[in-house]
Structure formats: C-alpha cells, structure tokens
C-alpha cells in the first residue's frame, strides 16, 4: 500500500560512483513507497541515477573535496528529488539535442534528455557554485492505495 504521508530524507555524499548507486537505490525504494507501478519506478530510478551521474561526473568531476546532496520528499501529490553538486554550473539551454541527426551517433549527451523523458517536471537552479536539479513525478492520478 502506498504511503500518503509526507516524508523527507536527504544525504550528503562523496563524488563517487558508489554515491550514484546509493542515490539510485534510494530513488527506487522511494518510488516504490510512493506507490508507482513497476515501469514508473524503473523510470524514476533511472532519471535520478542520471541526475546523480551528472552531479558526480560533469558537476564535481569526481573531485574528492566536493560533495553532492540528494533529497527525497514524498508528498501526497508527488515524489520530489533534488540533486545538487558543487561544480561550475550547468546551463540546460546549451545542451545539444541528442535526437538531432548530427548528434544521434554521439557517445554521450543523453542523460538530461532521459531525465526529462521520464519525469513530469525538471527544474535547474544555479547555486554559484553548483547546480540543483529538481525532479518531480506526480502521484496523481491517484496511485493504488492513496
């Protein structure tokens, strides 16, 4: 049964792949508890993983002196995940379109695209330094048990 109460948990983690895996696993559990179906749980977990990879790899560049944070908030309406880094900042408007013919065979550049494909809302905020990505998945129309 889905949990309809509001809950929030946050982590501050190293800029490592272990942190990416931990954030992905937490996203999966959070999405399951929010009552999403199996496919949506998988999509949310992937989107959050991509956000964490972005923070660790492109934001903090694996810098051991920099950290990432991840928070998971479940409200009656939504699952809200925020991932921050301490990097130079990300301007989403400058990212090339991975679906454009000239980019389709590129070996990278699909992370933000997948995040947007799988979440209902994606917001970027500049932190000076760093970037905060907010990923939102609606629990409405009501999930079973809510």
């Amino acid at each position: 049964m889905a949990d309809s109460t509001t809950s929030r948990v946050s982590y501050t983690l190293d800029s490592s792949l272990d942190s990416v895996n931990k954030i992905e696993q937490t996203a999966e559990v959070s999405a399951q508890r929010a009552g999403f179906d199996e496919d949506t749980v998988s999509h949310v977990a992937m989107a959050v993983r991509e956000a964490a990879v972005n923070a660790v790899l492109h934001g903090n560049s694996y810098d051991p002196n920099k950290h990432i944070t991840a928070s998971f908030e479940t409200t009656p309406e939504s699952l809200i995940v925020r991932v921050t880094d301490q990097g130079p900042g990300l301007n989403p408007d400058t990212l090339p379109d991975p679906l454009a013919p000239e980019n389709i065979l590129r070996g990278s550049g699909r992370g933000i695209f997948l995040i947007k494909a799988f979440m209902d809302e994606v917001h970027f905020r500049q932190l000076h330094p760093g970037t905060e990505l907010t990923l939102i998945k609606y629990r409405t129309p009501a999930q079973p048990g809510t």
């Binding site: 792949l17 990416v20 998988s42 992937m46 993983r49 991509e50 990879v53 790899l57 991975p98 679906l99 389709i104 065979l105 590129r106 070996g107 990278s108 550049g109 699909r110 992370g111 695209f113 997948l114 494909a117």
Partner: protein
C-alpha cells in the same frame, strides 16, 4: 551487479553474450574492451546478445553507439540481439532503434551478416 561478457564464434560471427548492467564505470569499460579485443583479433562481425542485460543507463547507451561506430569505421558490422523490453524502450526513446540493426533470433541474425 557488474557486467560479464562471454565470447563465442558461430559461422565467422563473434557473439558477445553480455549479462548484468551496462552503466557508467565498469559495465561501459567492459563492453569497450570486449569489442576492442574482437577487432584486434581480426574479426569485425559482431553480434551483441543483450538478453541478460538487466539495466542500461545513458552511459551504456553511449557505449553501444561508440561500439557501433568503432566497428563500422573498421569496415565491419555490429548488430544487437535479444533486447529486453527496458533496453528496447530506451533505444526507441533515443531514436537509436533504427540506427542499430536489431535482431530477435540468433540464427537469422547470424545469416544477416554480409559474407
């Protein structure tokens, strides 16, 4: 769970049976090294069997694309076999499904390579 690769030969085609996750880090490096090894041994007709791939992220997708272009630039062919629903859906979303030659039967996949 990390990614594992087993290599076999069928009618001159190198089949890489992949299992696990293709993600940033170990999985991506494993597939890159495996394809590089096949090319170094003089084979350039490669079939990637993804039946046991449970998960792939954007880095893994990028690695498949890189493998595809590397083999193509070497004058060879790289095809995909037995996509799971998750991988199939990801290739659809990223419009890569029509870029790759995707097969769902090993025998017909083998016979589809140019002789």
């Amino acid at each position: 769970m990390s990614m594992k690769v087993q290599t076999r030969q069928v009618d001159g085609i190198t089949i890489l049976d992949l299992s696990g996750r293709i993600t940033l880090g170990e999985g991506s490096v494993t597939i890159r090294d495996a394809v590089r090894d096949v090319l170094a041994k003089g084979s350039n007709k490669i079939l990637l069997n993804l039946a046991e791939i449970s998960y792939i992220d954007s880095s893994g997708i990028g690695e498949l694309v890189s493998a595809f272009t590397t083999v193509k630039n070497a004058g060879g062919e790289l095809k995909l076999l037995n996509l799971t629903k998750k991988v199939h859906d990801l290739l659809q979303i990223t419009k890569l499904y029509t870029v790759f030659d995707v097969k769902d039967d090993e025998a017909s996949a083998i016979s589809s390579f140019s002789k």
